[in-house]
């Protein structure tokens, strides 16, 4: 048994067999062999090399005849690689001395070559790294070690272990079989983490290198509550987790009874408790758990889960589906928040040195109106079906807000001229997630219908911490006093101007921090659907004056650590049922 620690990004516990992915998306068996099998394994390797060489010879003959010699040269070069005496010697060394399987040795050795070539300054050779990976793939196929993309044709439950998963890979995980995932890299606020919450998959990221220690089909436990990954758990641990899972199920069922109760404190203060969604199908789980509405509908999934650019109709269909499913409750549609760690199939920006300080979110949308306009049209059109509100992300300056609002007006004029049904009088709001916007909020409130604090980005920009970087993950804390001060200020400005303000970041989904927000004057929260029951439970267990006392004390503290300790202690007193052992 081996216990590893990482950053918990999506709660829950999953137990199952491991599926290890290599960076190219297929699984490498990290197997060792018996000493007595070494000779056979080398024989297998030689046969695989011979069979790949044969098929390369055939390809070369075919292409040379058809397209002349220069294409055939690629195959000739690959043949040379295959016959490389040093590679062969290294492979045999790994098999006989380290007792690695042929497939594992092939993937390690060829990956090292490709990696070295990628780092070369000469771009001509760096591009050839793909040829090396291609040879690797062919050898692994010949060894019968890989089939196709293992994520594409799953037939049994697995836990995905990988160096990293992109948001789109995460979004495309087959929820019928993937029970949870763990990655070596990644930080607490990255988009992958948000997608994992949306999928309600237990997930731990930023564990550091561990894939080398996992064998095929190893039994693993992912503990998304405590940030733990257990490899080969012993009977006792397995038993503990199974009991824990059962208790969670029972507790979750008891929370289900709160579904139709309002999110009200014991002294009668009403809190709007909305849900954050990423995918239209999540509306069902929001309704099941009694959400007051959708406080944040992230619309990037259309880009991340499809290979082609979504059309206006694609947008319209998705939004209408959400609006109609939720009935007369409000839906806040946030416009595209692409860029940085969220990239679709089309590269919208060249490589940036600091993508989180670069062309992302509203900045990207305003610069790429061919991308932005179809979305705005679709939102105004979907608005005829229900209570739709539009929200712009990452607004930093007043000029950006004005430009975005102007574009909405232009779009509405177009729709009117084209006689397409739409609504133009919908409320327009903005995310408060850049310190500059907080400082200028007294001006913003004069031009905006509602505000929503996005703590994920606000934390990142306030504390100068890349939210997807595991090396600085410990600094990434929404309970940092600096962040709390910005929130407090925002709430006060909004109250004075009588503009509604909500908090929709991950912060509001942690019961203790949610209560702190109530104490700071927030009366509207938006959380991932699976957090609705516990946050409602917390709200219904306290009085506003208790929250205010909590906030007053928290505001005197000096560090995120102190704040968290204090909050944990208060939560244990006020809502003991929610304390994770």
């Amino acid at each position: 048994m081996l216990e590893l620690h990482g950053i918990p990004v999506s709660s829950g516990v999953a137990i199952g067999p491991a599926l290890v992915l290599d960076p190219d998306g297929y699984s490498i068996p990290r197997c060792t062999i018996k000493r007595s099998d070494v000779a056979d394994e080398i024989e297998r390797l030689q046969q695989a090399v011979a069979s790949v060489a044969r098929s390369l010879e055939e390809s070369r003959a075919r292409t040379s005849a058809k397209m002349g010699n220069s294409t055939g040269e690629i195959f000739a070069a690959q043949l040379q690689m295959l016959r490389d005496p040093r590679m062969m010697a290294e492979l045999q060394r790994r098999i006989s001395q380290l007792q690695h399987s042929a497939a594992y040795s092939v993937s390690q050795v060829l990956h090292n070559y490709a990696e070295t070539m990628r780092r070369l300054k000469s771009s001509l050779l760096a591009e050839r790294a793909d040829d090396v990976l291609d040879i690797e793939r062919q050898l692994l196929f010949a060894l019968g070690a890989v089939t196709t993309n293992p994520l594409k044709d799953l037939s049994a439950p697995v836990i995905v272990l990988s160096n990293s998963l992109t948001p789109s890979e995460t979004a495309n995980l087959d929820r019928r079989f993937v029970l949870g995932f763990c990655t070596e890299t990644g930080g607490p606020g990255g988009h992958t983490a948000i997608v994992a919450k949306g999928l309600e998959l237990p997930a731990v990221v930023g564990i550091g290198p561990f894939l080398g220690r996992v064998g095929e089909k190893t039994q693993v436990i992912v503990d998304g509550d405590r940030g733990r990954l257990v490899l080969d758990p012993d009977k006792k641990t397995l038993q503990e987790y199974r009991i824990g899972q059962e208790q969670q199920r029972i507790f979750a069922r008891s929370l289900e009874q709160l579904r139709d109760c309002p999110a009200e404190t014991v002294d009668g203060a009403h809190v709007l408790l909305n849900a954050n969604i990423e995918f239209p199908y999540e509306v069902a789980s929001c309704l099941e758990r009694g959400a007051d509405g959708i406080g944040l509908y992230r619309t990037e999934f259309l880009y991340l889960s499809s290979d082609s650019e979504p059309s206006e109709e694609d947008h319209y269909r998705a939004y209408s589906q959400v609006v109609q499913a939720i009935g007369d409750r409000p839906v806040v549609i946030r416009t595209l928040d692409l860029g940085a760690d969220k990239m679709g199939s089309r590269p919208l920006v060249d490589r940036e040195n600091n993508p989180f300080l670069g062309l992302r979110s509203i900045r990207l949308s305003l610069k790429n109106q061919d991308l932005f306009r179809p979305q705005l049209r679709a939102i105004l059109r979907a608005a005829v079906h229900g209570d739709v509100r539009m929200m712009f992300p990452l607004i930093t300056t007043l000029a950006e807000l004005r430009q975005a609002r102007m574009l909405v007006n232009v779009i509405a004029e177009d729709l009117l001229e084209e006689a397409i049904p739409h609504r133009r009088d919908i409320p327009i709001g903005m995310m408060v997630e850049v310190p500059a916007a907080v400082l200028m909020l007294d001006r913003f409130v004069q031009e905006i219908d509602f505000l929503s604090i996005g703590t994920n980005d606000l934390v990142q920009y306030t504390l100068a911490v890349d939210r997807s970087n595991e090396y600085v993950a410990d600094l990434y804390q929404s309970s940092d006093p600096a962040v709390l001060r910005l929130i407090k200020h925002s709430v006060e400005v909004a109250a004075t101007a009588n503009v509604p303000i909500a908090v929709c970041g991950e912060m509001s989904s942690r019961p203790a921090r949610a209560l702190l927000l109530l104490g700071l004057g927030v009366r509207s929260l938006s959380v991932p659907p699976n957090a609705l029951p516990k946050v409602k439970k917390a709200i219904r267990s306290v009085s506003i004056s208790e929250c205010q006392e909590m906030a007053a004390r928290a505001m005197t503290l000096e560090s995120a650590g102190e704040v968290d300790l204090f909050l944990a202690e208060r939560l244990r007193k006020l809502v003991p049922e929610l304390t994770i052992p």
Binding site: E73, M81, D84, P85, Y113, T116, S122, R128
Partner: protein, 95 residues
Amino acid sequence: MNKTSLCFDVVVRNPKGLHLRAINTLVEAAARFESIILLQKDAEQADCASVFSLMTLGAEQGTQLKVMIDGEDATPAAAAIQHLFENGFYELDEA
């Protein structure tokens, strides 16, 4: 024949440097001789029998390389290698 050791410098002259095709030519030429033929760039050494070691050397145009040849047919091997580098692997007119 006696075992001979030879050592001399060459410069990569062809514009694309020691890229895939040039490496291929070099490995094929080296395979015609019994001698061990090594190239050295700074502290790194590559074996002319190994495509991978030449590829990971990453020698671009203008790079100076030390050639070390060891074996019974070192003299004709040296002539062949020198010829290839001097003629830029027959790619000089491609620039």
